[in-house]
Symmetry: C2
């Protein structure tokens, strides 16, 4: 793990790093020295580790909960090189949708492909970040919707350090099998008028989760329109399970 | 409106009253003198105005939010006399379920019948309570699940003073038409394994609400097993919309 820069943004220390060829960012409370809960955040499709919504959420987790937050670029996103296979699949999928195929199964197939790479990457990121003195081996949470859900479900299923997860904007096609191996508390976000994930698929993914405590929050609006008050709920959810 | 007793329970002043032949209870903060938000709570089937869960919720609303809370017995519940027609319908429904009929439409039909009486009663209760100096004409909220949803949906639809409502454990059969006239913010509770209200009916009632802000919270478990953390969410919901 190699640190590239250390700055502070809005009172929140921010460290850019690389782990092998994975570019990442770590946010921690000002003056942090001891072990604390760590939240790994997965970004959305076409976004990156410092997308505005990731950054806004990270700052709240750090300043209001005292958590550490880490985010890395998904392959072919942010500061990572393009991947020809991914570009080819995206172009093919675009053509298939134009020819009348359903979008959801194509998204699901793509996310399953990417997850095979990101699950081990994210586990390695946890290994590395938890060795830092100002993070340490505390409880781990995961936050990710949309692509961050498609990649997050297999990650949470595979990683016993994760004790609670916020997931959503994702369907059963991508990851119902992995969801059935998740037993930690989950807060699951659904957009009632999601134009990318059919409602029935969202409900089926929630249904598939094996967690004894899981709570579905559905709100009107399209894929990208999660209301601001859900962030308040997320903060309390993580505070309850990681704090 | 006639006050029968004035006591204090756990630091929360409690006034029993009758309004005509409707027995009710009003909780207000200690030493309250001015106008404040008022929450009307509808109790569940077979319960009454001072059922333990109503009381627990009322105390939190009063002590944490400074609200006034009012609850009255539904006809044929609590301190109100039995109603022969209701008893007859209940007996008939029991026989029809045993003969293989579905329960949900029978519950829905019964709730629609009772609502024709409770909607005007509850509106009269608001009129009376808001004339009290320690309540006044502030914003009004409604809380009710199960029977409290079946009666609450037509009440909220009819009563423009209600600015926000928590509803749930109810289905579209009872009240989809009234739901389509509700435009205030709603938090809607669904029990994922509800043995009384089919999941598809719950989702359809949420869908029918015309509110621009409505949020569905679904949790695993049976009809009566809403998790305790939903009360925290309810408190914040009302604080946001009535506070």
């Amino acid at each position: 793990m190699r640190f590239i820069s250390e700055t502070s943004s809005g009172g929140v220390p921010e460290q850019l790093f690389t782990l092998g060829d994975i570019p990442g960012v770590l946010w921690t409370p000002e003056g942090a020295v001891a072990t604390r809960p760590l939240v790994l955040m997965g970004h959305g499709g076409g976004q990156h580790k410092k997308a505005p919504d990731v950054l806004a959420r990270a700052r709240r987790f750090v300043t209001e909960c005292g958590f550490a937050v880490v985010a890395v670029d998904v392959p072919a996103h942010g500061d990572r090189p393009k991947i020809e296979d991914y570009d080819r699949i995206a172009t093919e999928n675009q053509a298939r949708v134009e020819a009348g195929e359903e979008l959801a199964p194509l998204i699901a197939g793509f996310q399953a492909l990417v997850a095979r790479q990101t699950v081990p990457e994210w586990r390695a990121v946890l290994d590395a970040v938890q060795q830092l003195a100002h993070v340490g081996v505390g409880p781990v949470g995961y936050w990710g919707v949309s692509l961050g859900c498609g990649l997050g479900v297999p990650f949470v299923a595979a990683e016993p350090r994760v004790r609670a997860a916020v997931l959503g904007l994702g369907g059963a096609l991508a990851s119902a099998e992995a969801a059935a191996r998740i037993t930690v508390p989950v807060e699951f976000l659904v957009q009632w008028d999601d134009e990318r994930v059919p409602r029935v698929q969202s409900l089926a993914l929630f249904d598939a989760l094996a967690s004894a405590e899981k709570t579905l929050h559905a709100n009107p609006g399209k894929h990208g329109e999660i209301p601001a008050f859900e962030l308040e709920s997320t903060l309390r959810f993580f505070a309850r399970h990681l704090g």
